[in-house]
């Protein structure tokens, strides 16, 4: 059993986090593939807007529904899984709509919310909306389905905080008490077609309207009015999601590249997860260049390589072969050593398991290459 697999042996949910471009999606899919090969029923869920997972799994579109990875995809890759692999891509808007439908007291209220222009922009415009919906969907999947393992790939957050603070921030938006006080006259009117004077004659409301235009505020007031009475349901649900994430059956995996910027971000993420009491199963440093030169100090010179080449009857080849080899090996080692130093930095800065995954010769973009990556986990 590999190091990452071991770290996640008893978990039912694995959440892959990290900055963009570090290979989170491939690693998440590889882990899911590996566990399904071994006989489990596994789901991998991504919310990446670039549809990378769909690409990696050879699927054209994933929708907001779980779809089983077809048997012929496995056959094409020469794989015969003992279990079943499912994949899905989160549709943020759909998840919002489902959540509203779940909490709305009646269809009229639900439709009124769906029609609201502020609501229509909410799913894409409100910071953290994507992250919140990812957790919401994860909760639904974890509590209402019977997967042995759910692997969640998260959006490439520019800021680690977005992911952890999203539910709180959005709940603060939906249930903001001071905003409700300000909107109270409008809210108690409780009907469509509010006029601005319902916002109160307050200095604040008037100035705000000058800033945004009155109608935008009216739409917002309508949305707040529609959400009245639903807030408690939202809040309970978000608390349950949060509680789920802190369970021992959940393991966060922080993914990093081997560059200083990426490592810095990963360590920041790790610290944040720990201080929020989220269970970190391990850190993965992805695509690490292997060191080839076995000795300390500088790599061989042109002259040394020319001597070594002399016995191998390579006379027909380019004249400066030794020089090119020397340069190539030197460059390779420069990179490998710089990356090894970054891996060390992670090892010394954390108490969690750290797994360095070597850069594979072939890129990871189908089931066959995912299974080669899975071996390293």
């Amino acid at each position: 059993m590999g190091a990452l697999e071991q770290a996640l042996a008893t978990q039912r949910v694995a959440v892959f986090v990290g900055s963009g471009g570090v290979g989170k999606t491939s690693l998440a899919a590889a882990l899911a593939l590996k566990r399904s090969m071994e006989g489990e029923k596994v789901l991998v869920c991504t919310i990446d807007p670039a549809k990378r997972l769909a690409n990696a799994l050879g699927l054209k579109s994933l929708g907001n529904l779980e779809a089983r990875v077809p048997a012929e995809k496995f056959r094409e890759a020469g794989l015969s899984p003992k279990g079943r692999l499912f994949a899905m891509m989160l549709d943020v808007k759909r998840t919002w709509d489902d959540l509203v439908a779940r909490h709305a007291p009646d269809p009229v209220r639900r439709e009124r919310i769906y029609r609201n222009r502020v609501y229509q922009q909410l799913s894409s415009a409100l910071a953290g909306s994507q992250e919140y919906m990812a957790m919401e969907k994860l909760y639904e999947l974890a509590t209402e389905r019977d997967y042995d393992l759910i692997v969640l790939d998260t959006p490439p957050t520019a800021h680690a905080l977005d992911f952890l603070e999203a539910p709180g921030r959005i709940l603060d938006f939906l249930g903001n008490e001071t905003a409700q006080v300000l909107l109270a006259p409008a809210l108690s009117a409780g009907k469509l077609g509010l006029r601005l004077f319902h916002l109160g004659s307050s200095y604040v409301a008037k100035t705000l309207a000058r800033f945004t235009g009155a109608e935008v505020l009216t739409e917002l007031a309508e949305l707040m009015a529609s959400f009245q009475g639903m807030y408690a349901g939202f809040k309970n649900r978000a608390a349950a999601v949060r509680a789920l994430l802190a369970q021992p059956e959940v393991g966060f995996v922080v993914v990093s590249g081997a560059t200083p910027a990426s490592v810095k971000e990963a360590l920041y993420f790790y610290d944040r997860l720990r201080s929020d009491f989220m269970p970190v199963a391990g850190l993965v440093v992805n695509r690490v260049t292997p060191e080839l030169w076995p000795r300390a100090g500088s790599t061989p010179t042109d002259v040394e390589l020319a001597e070594a080449l002399a016995g191998h009857h390579l006379e027909g080849l380019g004249a400066d072969l030794a020089a090119r080899l020397a340069r190539t090996l030197a460059e390779h080692e420069t990179l490998a050593r710089a990356e090894a130093a970054q891996v060390n930095r992670i090892v010394h800065s954390t108490q969690a398991r750290v797994l360095a995954v070597p850069r594979l010769e072939r890129e990871v973009h189908d089931l066959a290459s995912l299974s080669r990556l899975a071996v390293c986990l």
Binding site: A50, A179, R210, P260, A326
Partner: protein, 333 residues
């Protein structure tokens, strides 16, 4: 083989726009390319501002300076940097709309109001983009404050979200101050004389896929003019196919030959894959190409950035690349 550099390059016209939007997948080197383009423009005597958007600042440190923070800061002569944050941009925008600082502070620093600003669709993106575009329009002593603004945009999905904001507002917001701002911003973004987008990618599977998607989004969804495809970290072929085949047999040999042959093998594989992805990108994305070779650097610092700028400059000026000569000179010194 890699297409010859002289075939289609964007030329210096790229730098003659007032705004270059640098975007691409996360991790492809957008900040490096944005900083290098800004450096090239500054070397050519332009007054340049390079903007990051709500980021952990990378550009000013890359250029060897302290973080610029929320106000413009001169990192190198003629080259300023700025990190645009929602809060600072909102404040500046608010003061501009309301005209009185005290009024802004009284009203907008209020917790309730901050709530509203967050709740109104896309407002934080609007003010951040607005801040950047405002800098483009800024006039000082009868001439533009900046000859060129380089926007280090967020990665693909977030960039589309940011750049789409004026259009979203035009579609959803009734007439009023927000809409008027969306109108001038959209006009600026879509004007090919003023604005151009540079798509940065790596010669790898996923980055090229995302560059192709982003190119589609730029053309059909955003309609922002595009100026260049920047292929970053392109490895240069160093061994012939015959050499690689012969060297493969030596990969198990004792050092020094084995490790050297293995390094050559890795390099050969990387080159072959990279060339495949380069041609795929070029077939799908009909844009002039800037090619940045892969540089072996232990630290990604100012001198590495100067090298990238050298490469970009020589291509934009259509001079042959002299990086090898420079590297040799550095090794010799």
């Amino acid at each position: 083989m890699v297409a010859s550099l002289s075939s289609v390059v964007p030329g210096l016209a790229l730098l003659d726009r007032r705004l270059i939007i640098v975007t691409g997948k996360g991790g492809v080197g957008k900040s490096t390319i944005a900083a290098a383009l800004a450096l090239v423009a500054a070397r050519r005597g332009k007054r340049v501002l390079v903007c990051e958007v709500n980021a952990q600042e990378r550009i000013a440190p890359l250029l060897g300076g302290p973080p610029s923070g929320e106000s413009t800061h001169e990192v190198l002569p003629g080259l300023h940097s700025l990190n645009v944050t929602p809060r600072a941009a909102m404040r500046e925008y608010g003061i501009m709309v309301l005209r009185y600082r005290a009024l802004y502070d009284a009203v907008f620093e209020n917790r309730v109001v901050r709530f509203f600003l967050r709740a109104i669709p896309s407002l934080s993106e609007l003010v951040m983009l607005g801040k950047v575009l405002h800098e483009v329009r800024l006039v000082e002593k009868g001439r533009p404050r900046w000859d060129l603004v380089v926007l280090d945009a967020p990665s693909t999905g977030h960039a589309v979200q940011l750049l789409r904001v004026p259009r979203v507002l035009l579609d959803t917001v009734p007439p009023g101050p927000l809409r008027r701002d969306a109108e001038w911003m959209q006009a600026l973004l879509l004007d090919p004389a003023l604005t151009t987008a540079a798509l940065v990618t790596l010669p790898e599977e996923m980055p090229v896929n995302e560059a192709i998607e982003l190119d589609e989004a730029l053309r059909h969804l955003l309609e922002i003019p595009r100026g260049a495809l920047v292929m970053n970290a392109m490895p240069t072929a160093r061994f012939s196919r015959e050499e690689l085949a012969r060297l493969d047999e030596l990969r198990q040999a004792a050092p020094p030959l084995g490790p050297a042959a293995q390094a050559a093998h890795f390099q050969g594989v990387r080159v072959a894959q990279a060339e495949e992805h380069l041609s795929r990108a070029r077939a799908a994305i009909d844009l002039p190409l800037l090619l940045v070779p892969w540089l072996a650097r232990e630290r990604w610092d100012r001198s590495a950035l100067e090298d990238v700028a050298d490469v970009l400059q020589s291509q934009l000026e259509m001079r042959p690349v002299s990086l090898a000569a420079k590297a040799a000179a550095r090794e010799g010194s």
